[in-house]
């Protein structure tokens, strides 16, 4: 039985960035969320297939179609320091101090009331499907003891299956088993997250068995590792979709037809099978991953058709008059400035961008790629100094399609102005009736496909690789989670 | 007729950052040189001979004192006047190997003063140079060599030739022959004497070697610790 093996029941997981924030006043960047998800828990949780299930809240209800939400908290749950979990902790966790309240998705949260020790009431400014929002790992429930009397952060104290033990900056974070965990006590004695920034090093560390499990494996390593006998590769379609966002406010992509031409020129299926080694699902413009809620099954997707793309361009008046392979109109060449981020989160983006550049070159568009860090991107974005950006999963967590906010005109990332769209997105988010909501989201998807504020490329597949002696792992669809429920080690040397 | 008269010439050097130290390289020197004559300057090592020479040529600025050359006080000259002074007084150095730019052919080295002072046009230049090297008795084959391909005596002749192109009235020879072999030294010293007779040049002849100075000079000043201590 696994328990007997406890001497080696210490899991080592490699991640790419350190956890440099443990407190709710900031967003946990990079891979920090994998670690947070072991220490902290949320009121509402998702199971491995994105079904919404009780977390720290046992149940919830909304008496007024989404403007007020009442959560009944689980009894007999204790924080890592032994203090009981209660309504105060919820109020603390969603106070004005918290990131999610201050900057994030819960800005329309008016206030929280404690009804009794185990009941809290969230009052919103407008109707919202709040339980979905509360599944996000990045805004979990923390103990008020996380801070001292002056409000300075002391230690990460949550209710999760593992307790924070120690952290050595840029090296490792050690978590140990929470003996008093509310659910099934974890088999693992401890989980150590090792910080290894370089992807190749991460893979080699797994192969030398210096680490047991790696997250965010680069696509190109998958097929090789799938053939290795002593590693297991776990794959599952996630909630994330990579998309090519256009600057519709000015420049060439102001013209919807040109955006369409781009969509027809990109063969997402081929890109997926080559650049991404077949990992993921081609989106062909579908804005929502099939695993997402309200993802419309029947959509009028873009099938690869260069000829059509060429046709559209020439109809729009773009001709190659000087025979340099680049189309031009009124003496202006067809040029686009293409921004790509270099986050560890999306190492695949650079080769994808290059591939896109290649195909667009093919239809006569001169694409200039700029690989930048997020700060630099923000700057160019604000100044409107770009034509396309390659992005992944903004406002995406859990199955709920909050992502559509990204194209609303007031969103800093939108670069798209369409009052109709804005209205539709708002309405969809504020509608409590599931059927109506579904219809609204279906309409939104059709609209995105028709209007193309962005062309959706691939639905991302999550990859976790572990050595075969890691048993009992079940991969979750939602990305920031690392589900170690039921994991144990057997026969590790 | 007096060509150069130096009065109360002083040159102090200062060294040290924290505690300034004063080195009195030249400390009140009076010198007089007549037209067409040679003044010998002798003295132990480090007594200030070179410094006297360099200050007279205004290669270093004197701390105090006056230098009257050809009737003009030259201590305060600037700009154009200073440049013209270069045509009248010149210097020959001790070490022939470093007296010429190693990257300049002999021809260019001799031509250089003429170009700097814009004294000849391109078509005259060849002829002029040939005349000059004839005066100092140099083979014209050497003109297109680099300095390191010449011997010390030949180099010293080149130095003299280029100086002569300016027709100077006064030349300082700072141990001009002390690095040369006796045979060559004799050649150079004889050449200098010849030139003096022909062109009426005045010399300030600096040397360690009393015998040589006696042979060269009309008058001899002996220096010690920055001062003239004897005058023969």
């Amino acid at each position: 039985t696994p328990q007997e093996d406890s001497a080696t029941n210490e899991l080592v997981v490699a991640i790419s960035t350190d956890v440099n924030n443990w407190y709710l006043d900031k967003f946990p960047g990079g891979d920090a969320r994998f670690v947070w998800s072991q220490v902290y828990e949320t009121l509402v949780r998702l199971d491995t297939d994105l079904n919404i299930v009780p977390g720290l809240a046992e149940s919830w209800e909304t008496p007024d179609d989404g403007k007020t939400w009442i959560f009944h908290l689980r009894d007999g749950v204790y924080f890592h320091n032994g203090a009981p979990f209660d309504a105060n902790a919820v109020v603390f966790s969603y106070s004005d101090e918290s990131y999610v309240k201050k900057m994030g998705a819960l800005r329309s949260l008016d206030h929280i009331e404690t009804i009794d020790e185990n009941t809290v009431k969230f009052v919103l400014n407008r109707p919202m499907p709040l339980p979905f929002y509360l599944t996000h790992v990045a805004w979990p429930i923390m103990s008020p003891d996380c801070v001292d009397d002056n409000g300075d952060f002391v230690a990460p104290i949550g209710t999760g299956p593992f307790k924070f033990e120690k952290q050595t900056p840029d090296q490792e974070i050690v978590l140990i088993r929470n003996e008093d965990y509310r659910g099934d006590e974890p088999v693992l004695e401890s989980v150590t997250f090792k910080v290894i920034p370089e992807a190749s090093t991460r893979v080699m560390a797994l192969e030398t068995k210096e680490v047991d499990m790696i997250i965010k494996l680069p696509e190109y390593e998958v097929s090789r590792l799938e053939n290795e006998a002593d590693v297991n590769v776990y794959r599952k379609l996630t909630t994330f979709t990579d998309f090519l966002q256009f600057n519709c406010n000015n420049g060439v992509f102001n013209d919807k037809e040109i955006r369409k031409a781009v969509a027809y020129s990109i063969n997402t299926e081929q890109m997926l099978n080559t650049v991404l080694e077949g990992i993921g699902t081609p989106a062909k413009g579908r804005p929502l991953s099939p695993v997402m809620m309200y993802s419309k099954p029947e959509l009028d997707l873009y099938e690869y058709d260069v000829e059509k793309a060429r046709e559209i361009l020439s109809e729009a008046g773009w001709q190659d008059s000087d025979n340099d392979g680049i189309l031009d109109k009124n003496g202006q060449p067809l040029k686009a400035k293409f921004i790509v981020g270099k986050d560890v989160w999306a190492s695949r983006h650079v080769p994808m961008a290059e591939a896109i550049q290649g195909v667009l070159q093919n239809v006569g568009m001169d694409v200039d790629i700029q690989v930048l860090e997020s700060g630099a991107i923000t700057k160019l974005e604000n100044e409107g100094q770009f034509d396309m950006i390659l992005r992944s999963g903004y406002f995406v967590w859990g199955p709920y399609p909050r992502h559509f906010f990204v194209h609303q005109s007031f969103c800093p990332y939108s670069h798209y102005n369409n009052t109709e769209y804005d209205k539709l997105a708002n309405a969809a988010d504020s509608t409590a009736d599931p059927e109506k909501q579904q219809q609204l989201y279906y309409d939104l998807q059709d609209m995105v496909l028709e209007e193309l504020p962005a062309f959706y490329l691939v639905h991302e597949e999550k990859i976790i690789v572990a050595n075969t002696y890691v048993k009992g792992y079940r991969i979750t669809a939602e990305d920031p989670w690392l589900n170690l429920d039921g994991v144990y080690l057997e026969g590790k040397q | 007729m007096t060509l150069l008269s130096v009065e109360n010439l002083k040159k102090y050097y200062y060294s040290g950052v924290f505690n300034k130290k004063e080195i009195r390289a030249v400390d009140g020197v009076d010198i007089e040189i007549k037209s067409g004559r040679t003044l010998g300057l002798v003295g132990g090592s480090g007594c200030g001979k070179t410094t006297v020479a360099r200050t007279i040529l205004r290669l270093v600025e004197p701390t105090d004192g006056s230098i009257v050359f050809d009737g003009r006080d030259i201590t305060k000259l600037r700009g154009r006047e200073m440049k013209n002074l270069g045509r009248e007084m010149q210097i020959i150095f001790q070490n022939p190997e470093t007296s010429l730019n190693p990257r300049m052919k002999i021809y260019d080295a001799i031509l250089e003063p003429l170009t700097i002072h814009k004294l000849c046009s391109a078509d005259e230049e060849n002829e002029k140079i040939h005349r000059l090297i004839e005066i100092v008795n140099l083979n014209k084959e050497l003109l297109f060599r680099y300095p390191h391909e010449l011997s010390g005596g030949q180099l010293q002749r080149v130095v003299i030739a280029r100086i002569l192109s300016l027709n100077p009235k006064f030349i300082v020879a700072d141990e001009a022959t002390s690095m040369l072999d006796p045979l060559v030294q004799a050649q150079i010293l004889n050449l200098m004497k010849d030139l003096q007779e022909k062109l009426g040049i005045s010399y300030l002849f600096i040397s360690h070697d009393m015998d040589v100075v006696e042979w060269m000079s009309d008058e001899i000043a002996v220096m010690d610790k920055g001062k003239i201590v004897d005058w023969k």
């Binding site: - | 006796p182 045979l183 004799a186 070697d209 042979w215």
Partner: protein, 313 residues
């Protein structure tokens, strides 16, 4: 009695494709207890000869001939044996003391290591001997812990002398020990060397181009020109009755004799003129001179000279 006998010594350098014949057939004998002067113009090969005697030339050089020191040919010796001879039997004072002293070792150390290495002396004993040596050359032994850069030129020269004499060698080679010194210091050094050499019954090969120094110190003088010895005679004979035209010119070029000039330049060692090497500058060229290379000829009073003018004598 001859202490060192050099026979037909040839030292050729291979420099950038050219052969520099720095010494080209030197025959020379140094007798016991004698001071032999070696004079000649810059670059004629004096220092090379001095170094060749001690086997201190670099590897890219071709040496032929014989250098016999006390029945041993130095050129045939093993490196080990040579090492024993150096310093112990033959000492050398190199030309430029500023460069020849190691800047990072104290002066005392540089002398005492000779004792420690050759005579296996203890530190203390070596230091006492060093102090004695320094005292002998007129340097306060207390300064033995100082470094070369703290010494003046004359003092460095003295240190070099102390080093050369440390083991009482039978033969000392002094390469221009007075170069670059002011007249007073020069006199002191000359006196010092004379005194030490005479007191210790050793021989000295004094390389110089200062005739004044040679006059003061030497018994005999060899005159070198372009890698050859062209005249050997007692110092008196050289001064009063020079035979070779070059020697005569050399003497006449002194200020005392009115600085009489000689035309021409010294020849290059890589392509010397044919025949007598001095003939292009010579006042008394005769028919043979440009064609045949003259041999050494004995003339009166034990003078040898390499000149056709004396052929018939």
């Amino acid at each position: 009695m001859s202490l060192l006998k050099i026979q037909d010594l040839k030292v050729y350098f291979n420099a950038r494709g050219k052969t520099v014949k720095a010494n080209n057939g030197i025959d020379l004998e140094i007798r016991e207890n004698e001071i032999l002067g070696l004079i000649g113009e810059t670059g004629c090969g004096k220092s090379i000869l001095g170094r060749a005697i001690v086997g201190l030339l670099s590897d890219n050089v071709e040496i032929r001939g014989k250098i016999v020191y006390k029945n041993e040919d130095i050129l045939d010796l093993s490196e080990d044996r040579l090492r024993k001879i150096r310093g112990k039997d033959i000492g050398i004072i190199l030309q430029n003391p500023s460069a020849a002293l190691n800047p990072v070792l104290s002066v005392g150390n540089q002398i005492s290591e000779i004792y420690r290495y050759h005579e296996n002396m203890g530190k203390k004993e070596a230091r006492i001997r060093t102090a004695k040596m320094l005292e002998m050359v007129g340097i306060d032994p207390k300064r033995m812990h100082e470094y070369p850069h703290q010494f003046s030129g004359g003092m460095k020269q003295r240190v070099m002398i102390a080093m050369g004499l440390a083991l009482n060698p039978g033969l000392l080679i002094a390469d221009e020990p007075t170069k670059g010194l002011d007249p007073t210091t020069k006199d002191k050094i000359v006196d010092l060397i004379c005194e030490l050499v005479i007191n210790r019954n050793m021989s000295l090969l004094l390389i110089t181009h200062d005739l004044g120094v040679a006059e003061k110190m030497c018994d005999r003088v060899a005159v070198m020109y372009a890698g050859e010895i062209i005249e050997i005679a007692t110092i008196e004979n050289i001064l009063s009755n020079p035979q070779h035209p070059y020697t005569q010119d050399l003497l006449n070029s002194r200020p005392k004799k009115g600085l009489k000039p000689t035309a021409g330049e010294s020849p290059s060692l890589s392509s010397p003129p044919a025949g007598c090497k001095f003939h292009p500058r010579c006042r008394c060229v005769i028919g043979e001179c440009p064609k045949t290379h003259p041999q050494m000829i004995e003339t009166e009073n034990g003078t040898s000279v390499r000149c056709f003018l004396y052929e018939d004598n």
